[in-house]
Symmetry: C2
Subunit: 140 residues, 2 copies
DNA sequence: GGGAATCCCTATCATTTTACTTGGAATTAA
DNA sequence: TTAATTCCAAGTAAAATGATAGGGATTCCC
């Protein structure tokens, strides 16, 4: 019941981009260094975030990555879903296309997984990068 | 962000025991058959539930397993924690002994993982096997 | 134009975890 | 005594994880 490094590194990277929002393209290398993460690995993650339109890239020297939207318009859920796939503690309650067992109609454990799924969704969909920035400023 | 089969099979088995609560020992084989699960594998799971005192066993012929407490006194959280280990989407918010990164004081993503952790805990600690039985009766 | 910085893409790989399977010893009711 | 059952310890195939390797494409800057 843990997130993989994909979701965790990905959120760190996106928060890093949010901190530098408006300062022009941020090179991957510098994100990886600040967040203490393998840069080649992070590259794969950020590629997916780019393909789904959460970040923009600028190629060539002085290039890098930028948020594609305002921090207030990107939720933690957006990021995690891209990197971890559809959410849900069991296949029968996956967000998009649940894979039902042949007993789904009468399965009581499914009710439990649904409640967990909903509560996780509520949390991650309610936190934006802006919320994290605000929290960050309070701490400093 | 999925539970493993350990937690899922374990809850199924415990619910099965709850359904047969008060009827004497239930053989593992019959649980495994009803829940369509490898019996040897389930044996390993139920062994852990026994060691932590959630189920009792009766050895020998006509033996089997029984809940060690009333269904109203066993929560989903009790079961899942035994089988999946301490809960938490990231090591830095594991329930018992979080493994903090060297940046834990200033890490903002940690705040997010904490909120997820709390919301999952709230759900699984609030559902008892009795609740599941009640739901089950409604459905039939 | 050349070189450096950077993104982009594909493939490979070691390790760990998962989800079992195998085999048999110990216990007990009938 | 035998069949049913729990109990225990190892082994194992497949998948997932968390990278690494290597090189091509693009763009800024001198």
């Amino acid at each position: 019941m843990k997130l993989s490094t994909r979701g965790r590194y990905g959120l760190k990277a996106m928060f890093d981009l949010a901190v530098h929002d408006g300062e022009g393209p941020v090179p991957l290398r510098s994100i990886a260094e600040r967040q203490k993460v393998s840069d080649h690995y992070l590259e794969q993650l950020i590629a997916e975030l780019r393909k789904t339109g959460l970040v923009k890239s600028v190629r060539g020297a002085q290039g890098g990555y930028m948020l594609a939207h305002k921090p207030s318009e990107i939720t933690v859920g957006d990021i995690i879903r891209v990197l971890e796939g559809p959410l849900g503690p069991s296949d029968c309650v996956l967000e998009n296309k649940p894979i039902l067992c042949n007993n789904a109609d009468h399965c009581i454990t499914k009710m439990v997984w649904e409640k967990i799924q909903v509560s996780i969704s509520n949390v991650i969909d309610s936190i934006t990068l802006q919320d994290m920035l605000d929290e960050h400023k309070k701490k400093v």
